[in-house]
Amino acid sequence: MLQTTTRQLTLAQAINSALRRALQDDDKVLLLGEDIGKLGGVFRVTDGLQADFGSDRVMDAPLAESGIIGTAVGLAYRGYRTVCEIQFDGFIYPGFDQIVAQVAKLHYRTQGAVKMPITLRVPFGGGIGAVEHHSESPEAYFAHTAGLRVVSPSNPQDAHTMLRAAIASDDPVLFFEPKRRYWAKGPVDEDAPGDIEHAAVVTAGTDVTLVTYGALVGVARDAAAAAAEDGVSIEVIDLRSLSPIDFDTVERSVRKTGRLVISHEAQQFAGLGAEIAASVTERCFDYLDHAPVRVTGFDTPYPPSALEEYFLPDLDRMLDGVDRALRKPNSLTDWTANA
């Protein structure tokens, strides 16, 4: 019988062990970010790594996101695989130019001569009562950019294997870590194969397909359990890869259920939900019994923490969306735009 190496780890520990394995397996792997050395990062995700691998491989960076990413570009030219930690989602914007104008395009610009195997780790999303710029979901900006892969794990197992796959990928990868799940524990088999291509069906169902990712996967699973008590069968899909999206898996589910609900924390307008709704409609219009429904953050700035429980999709809002897809009485039944 094969010996299994499964351990119970928090999501943060699963990422830490993935970084450790990547540093062990490939001496071209470097870590670069603010406070990732002695402190181990503000979320302690890189705890102990500088002590074990040295400050030449686990580097505290000056406080400059463009500098971190641009330096990683130069290191990539030289054959290094740099894993950059962007301290918080809302801090990534100073590095936006280097990401979209350089990291994303250099392989294309050089007709394949120069690879950019850069992984950008970004703690993202809300729900931790933080101040402004610490709870954002900027993934759509990057999903819109040609040349980038964008992924987000929802559990410790995926966090480990997907990060190792992201680091091993010769494409640049934006790795969005659901920060409010950092402390959630789960089994992790460090030898499980990595996959940053495919969505996962989290709970099988027959009435409604509920597509989400990151921290909301747990909420969706709870919503599915609650709906099951009312006799509604929800199939929850964890996208895992946000660009490209595994539309084959989503389409297969929607052909079965005929109803699609998409949920993300990010603002709705021109968000991933819009792309999923459009693409699924294009692919299997004839199988849809209802227009796709979106349950998302509002098109406002991320609010002060006392308001975030209203901004963030929760179990009840997801089930309200499910009711809309099922044409059951819901919050909009008697709503009109001119009321």
């Binding site: 641009g70 330096t71 570009v73 130069g74 290191l75 054959g79 050089t110 394949g112 001569a113 040349g147």
Partner: protein, 374 residues
Amino acid sequence: MPTTVSKDFRLTESHIRQEDVVQLVTPAGARVANPTFDPWVDDVGADQLASFYEDMVLVRRIDTEATALQRQGELGLWPPLLGQEAAQIGSARALRSDDFAFTSYREHAVAWCRGVALPDLLRMWRGTAASGWNPYDVNVAAPAIIIGAQTLHATGYALGCRKDGVDTVAIAYFGDGATSEGDVNEAMVFAASFQAPVVFFCENNQWAISEPVGVQARNHIADRAPGFGIPSLRVDGNDVLAVHAATRVALERARSGGGPTFIEAVTYRMGPHTTSDDPTRYRDPDELATWQGRDPIARIGLLLEGLDVDVEALDRAVNAKADETARALRAGCVALAAPEPLSVFDNVFTGPHSWLDRQRSQYAAYLAQFDEEA
């Protein structure tokens, strides 16, 4: 209590400090003795100077021919280097073959010195490719159009060289306008913190399109670097010998573990920003005339005459070579064909990609209709 600092407090390495712009050859072609820099170019004799002269004439001809090709509709755009030949040749000829240059879009002479093939100089400007050459063939990165972005890439590359335990150096070329960009300042922070073996080579050509350098900096640009902990020097960018000496100093510092150096090469963009620009709208013709009197090529011709070189014969040979180079450039340019339509999808990613592969397949089906009609 206020601290008194000496005028030169920022200059940590006096051996590269000069009171003013370093100049070894005057515009009149006179060799100026300089005990600090002379030892760095004492091996540069008449033959080597003649070879710099030849390179400068050739790249000026390449530049003229490319401008003509743009006017004739063969190129979409061309950013002339006219006036900056010495800054680029003098520095690039100081590089070792394994050193790596990260340039802006005007460093045609750097590319030339590194052995970039003639048509490859034009590929991007003709629109047949997003960049002209494989960076690893010539150790010159794909030119950066985003101003200043490449300075960080050079810093990262240099950091990689240090990690690899080699004495290879990265050099970043950028203009006076770029020094206002955050990336250039961040690059200096990173380079200083990590003591990266990188040379920051600023071609201060006095103009950022229509903005004079005074819009970017009230003091000398070189004076900024010491604030980052990076020694700097100003050099006459139209003096190929002075540029060569200064670059050798900076390269040696980097190679021997001394970290980054900042060079401000004071030069002049004699032409427009690009073939789309009209400098008569913003530039005083007298200023251009002044700088034409400081021409980088003319002064080396005069210097060579003083060294008893037969410059007439040299000119005949160099001009014949320039004519041949221009012919080859033109022939190479018009032979650059547009790539086939589906190649628009190539190299976005390093391997399969479910979304893009599907889009490509659908566009192929669209294109196939026309094959069937034909």
